[in-house]
Subunit: 406 residues, 2 copies
């Protein structure tokens, strides 16, 4: 069993770097604060006897050697960058749970056959630089190192320059680092476990996701003198599309998701009929065929709305991640560890993307979820219970040992 | 008949002050540009032999004496301040049409029994300082001089200081200026005349309007991991209210109007279910009972939506202007002048507020509309035909003469 108090203490210590007045953390990727956080975690890794490798995109791998150094390491990890209004646990928990596993192995003098590694990936959040999950994305070849290096923040600072500046541009070529199996512990970021009063979520898969930008163009006109029948109200037409996003998701339970999160009106004035509305659409499903059906239904509805309304409209897919089923070996290891430890459990499909989906392109992978308060994350009030975090870390320990072999 | 070319030339001359690259005008109330515009118009008034009075809120009255100076003046006017992306005609036309009437009377050596006055009112647009129609509002006692003086722009500059700075804080107490009758020529700001191919709109009344701020509060949550059934999506609930605004207006044709022009989401992020949505509602009708019915139906729908959805919502009325029927004498004078001059015509209820609704609280009032291109105003592409502007000015001349008596 791991040491829950030590895990909690490390989480609280790391959370001091970039702590916000409301109890959250703001530690954006590749800032001075990110460097401080990285230095702290790397220092802890060294204290725990681990060797450190940094690759060219700043991914950090901390290694505890195994009896057979030729075996690919059993890896766990996540990220320590945060949202601008982030919490203490998102990502950070996955990294420090890995550290706690190694500390526990050290305490108990347990040797493993395969090496054990704890990784943290660069810029998972994507708040400062897009694309999201940058470090693991470059690692698995989803996009190139050059693409990632060229990404700039709103001030025009590039990933390449910021990585060099904080001293985390390593030498290893991304992806030239073997992985035997990959586990990631994470707060659920949703309400399912809490709602069902379960401690451990076994994650069989991560949903696929399609992101769209939709623009409806009408004609801006004065709200008073323009008769209802002569209007081209871009907002009114948009509301039917916005509702359809949710209706489509509801037609494909239980894993259909449909969200309009971002809306912008032009000119956005009280007494002007909106001439243009831009909004985002986020569709998800764990089944790629169903996700594609949802996509087709969305496009068909927009075509119908275009011809019914006579307004111009465009829809562009700006991101697509296919669903990511995790490997039966890793999912099984998590399930068995949970059963052995006697925690209440259920399967929870991950609705959010994680570094594990990229790791899964290179090696068997699996995830372990623990509840977070009210399902809230990406918010300074994000919270999680220390006994739940401890339980998740125990499951991680046993799942990793099962793969690494004692 | 007035001189249409001279009217057009003056409009184009005034439009140079604050001209924008796209052919519009930006001459916000009480700026240096407003002062330049005021000085130009006052200079033209003096050249036309008129005497000038400025009141304490900066309303300017230019007077051509009548045979009987004891009679209250027959007044026309409008405003010369513009929207940030305004056009050449909105307001400006009403003032310069008045000037052209006086120039014509001078050319033809016509004396009138009652004095004739051309007014321009301070800050009609309300873009820089709220409330809108400030000068005419103070003049008729709708709100106090102190309220108007205290209004500040986004930089914190007050109406009082800016009026003094540009030299247009006069001495006359607002409202202490008699009006015998008031006419205002204006571009329609709507598509009705153009749609019906008519030149002159006789304006029997201005619609009443109610403005609301509505806030729907749900719970922000991650778009992926939050199942559809556990969401409190503030945008989805809001869309039904937004649609109802239009449905209510459509239930009360032909003068019901319903518009949602301004929408703001929190946190407005692509993968976050909106936790709060704020939006404006603009309801109008020319019949106050129907406007009140629309108001009641709006509130009832929000109550129903609140209890159906379980989400918190608030609605606050932030402005209310009752419908303003114009005086039969003035409406009749406009109608007869139009008939006499042989212009094609129809009645057009004004959907937009104008200084005339405040003037109408103190004296018989009426308005004359001319078409504007595609019904567009509050836009740099606002446009109007010089023959239409000339026709409106001819109608103004004859309506004013009918009231002022030759
Ligand atoms: N974990 C997480 O918030 N990932 C961001 C991408 C997503 O919206 O799923
Ligand atoms: N004429 C005009 O745009 N007035 C502003 C108030 C309104 O929306 O009617």
């Amino acid at each position: 069993r791991i040491n829950g108090e030590r895990l909690w203490a490390s989480l609280m210590e790391l959370a001091k770097i970039g702590a916000t007045p409301k109890g959250g953390v703001k530690r954006l990727a590749l800032t001075d604060l990110d460097k401080q956080g990285r230095d702290l975690v790397v220092g802890w890794g060294r204290e725990a006897g681990m060797s450190i490798t940094v690759d060219q995109i700043g991914n950090v791998f901390m290694r505890r050697e195994g009896r057979n150094p030729a075996l690919a390491p059993i890896m766990t990890g996540s990220h320590i960058d945060t949202q601008p209004t982030g919490g203490k646990f998102d990502g950070n928990y996955g990294v420090l749970a890995g550290l706690e596993v190694v500390r526990t192995l050290n305490d108990q003098g347990i040797e493993t056959e395969a090496p054990v590694e704890v990784a943290f990936w660069t810029n998972e959040e994507g708040s400062r630089f897009v694309p999201v999950m940058m470090g693991s994305g470059v690692f698995c070849g989803a996009f190139s190192l050059e693409t990632a290096y060229a990404a700039k923040d709103t001030e025009g600072k590039s990933v390449r320059d910021e990585l060099a500046r904080i001293g985390y541009m390593g030498e290893q070529v991304p992806g030239q680092h073997p992985i035997g199996a990959y586990f990631e512990t994470h707060i659920e970021q949703g309400p399912v476990l809490e709602d069902a009063d379960k401690v451990i979520g076994v994650v069989p898969a991560v949903m696929g996701l399609s992101w769209y930008d939709c623009v409806v163009t009408g004609m801006e006109a004065h709200a008073g003198p323009t008769p209802m029948g002569l209007r081209k109200d871009a907002l009114q037409v948009s509301t039917y599309i916005m509702q359809e996003v949710v209706k489509i998701a509801n037609r494909y339970p239980p894993y259909g998701r449909g969200t309009v999160g971002m809306v912008q009106l032009f000119p956005n004035s009280r007494n002007v009929i909106p001439g243009e509305v831009k909004f985002s659409i986020d569709l998800r499903n764990v089944n790629d065929e169903l996700l594609n059906t949802m996509h087709e239904e969305m496009l068909a509805f927009i075509d119908k709305t275009r011809s019914d309304s006579g307004l111009a409209m465009s829809i562009e897919r700006v991101s697509y991640y296919p669903p990511c089923p995790f490997h039966p070996d890793c999912v099984g290891a998590v399930r068995e560890a949970t059963a052995k430890l006697g925690y209440s459990t259920m399967d929870v499909v991950s609705g959010a993307g994680h570094d594990a989906i990229y790791a899964a392109r290179l090696a068997p992978a699996g995830m372990i979820f623990v509840p977070c308060k009210d399902g809230i994350s990406h918010n300074e009030i994000e919270d999680a219970r220390s006994d739940h975090l401890e339980a998740g870390c125990n499951v991680l320990l046993h799942a990793m040992l099962e793969r690494a072999k004692i």
